[in-house]
């Protein structure tokens, strides 16, 4: 499969941006890293290296892996091991009023906070698999982890998330 021309790449931004924005917002929630900075840098880096994209994986997967590497660099720079459970709930405030009910809004904020409290290696897989709905094959391409191990990590991530939500007093019976 051939690579993308500059014009095709620019057209794809419209399709890729909203999805990448959602995934990066979830991945970076509570980290203090601005998802917009990462996304802009990822697109720019992808544009500069467009000739290196062979099309083996999808363009989205390729740009996602660039964005992920930028996040990892940023975490290293910031010695990113702060205790996320101490991040105030207000930091997960929603940017719009799409949630009409206050109860639902509150639950969504707590769910965001719970996801952000997961260890980085579990959170990133949960974000890719459950929020971004990426296939295990694509997640495997990005992370270099085999699909079976990814499923076991997803299990651990969901289990820990269930425990965090229980501690927060959220039950979904």
């Amino acid at each position: 499969m051939a690579g993308y021309s500059i014009e095709e790449f620019e057209r794809e931004i419209k399709e890729i941006y909203p999805r990448l924005n959602r995934a990066m917002t979830a991945y970076l929630a509570g980290s203090g890293v601005d998802p917009e900075d990462i996304i802009q840098e990822a697109f720019l880096k992808a544009f500069r290296n467009l000739d290196k994209f062979k099309g083996g994986s999808g363009l989205y997967t390729w740009i996602y892996s660039i964005a992920r590497n930028l996040c990892i660099d940023e975490f290293r720079k910031r010695k990113h091991q702060q205790n996320r459970s101490q991040i105030p709930v207000e930091d997960f405030e929603l940017a719009s009023d799409i949630f009409t009910s206050e109860t639902v809004k509150e639950e969504v904020i707590l769910l965001r906070k719970a996801i952000s409290e997961l260890p980085e290696n579990l959170r990133e897989i949960l974000v890719m698999q459950a929020i971004d709905e990426m296939s295990y094959a694509d997640i495997s391409r990005i992370t270099g982890i085999n699909e079976q191990t990814l499923k076991n990590r997803t299990f651990r991530a969901r289990k820990q998330l269930a425990e965090i939500l229980k501690k927060m007093g959220i039950s979904h019976n």
């Binding site: 924005n21 544009f47 499923k151 299990f155 998330l161």
Partner: protein
């Protein structure tokens, strides 16, 4: 209780199956089989129940939250790419100018070298008589050389 070496492997496989069940990838029969397998692992069965009750995580991040905000940021990305294109063009011009300078210097050096050579040896470009004779005598074509020698002998005989 199963052996230690298979216990870990079985647990891993069951965890993978639980995730498949949560993602709705198992058939009814496969899920029934999973539940019967989990009877041997009460802790995993408890996990299975808890994981099935988790909310849909996509609901935490519905997209797009703000179309206007998205448009603003996408425009910013397009602007950055446009700037990058201009920068790449400028870099291309720089390359052209650099190469032109390099070749211009080489061309000037070549011209100066040729002029110097002509000035040092003015006969460099002249066609003098000696060179014409040697060219005829030591010609690559033997017939030309032979006819020229005969011509010289005739001249000498005539002089005698």
């Amino acid at each position: 209780m199963k052996k230690d070496n298979t216990y870990g492997t079985n647990r891993d496989v069951l965890q993978q199956k639980i995730i498949d069940a949560c993602d709705g990838k198992l058939t009814q029969n496969e899920e029934t089989t999973l539940l019967s397998e989990l009877e041997q692992y009460p802790d995993l069965y408890q996990d299975y129940l808890e994981l099935r009750q988790l909310p849909d995580l996509k609901s935490a991040y519905p997209a797009p939250e703000s179309a206007y905000r998205n448009d603003f940021h996408m425009k910013r990305i397009h602007d950055l790419i446009s700037k990058e294109k201009i920068n790449q063009l400028i870099s291309f011009d720089d390359v052209i100018v650099t190469w032109f300078k390099r070749y211009a210097i080489a061309a000037i050096l070549l011209i100066l070298g040729t002029i110097s050579l002509v000035q040092i040896n003015p006969e460099f470009l002249s066609n003098d008589a000696d060179s014409i004779v040697s060219e005829l005598v030591y010609s690559y074509e033997e017939s030309i050389a032979e006819s020229y020698v005969l011509y010289l002998e005739d001249l000498m005989e005539n002089d005698d």
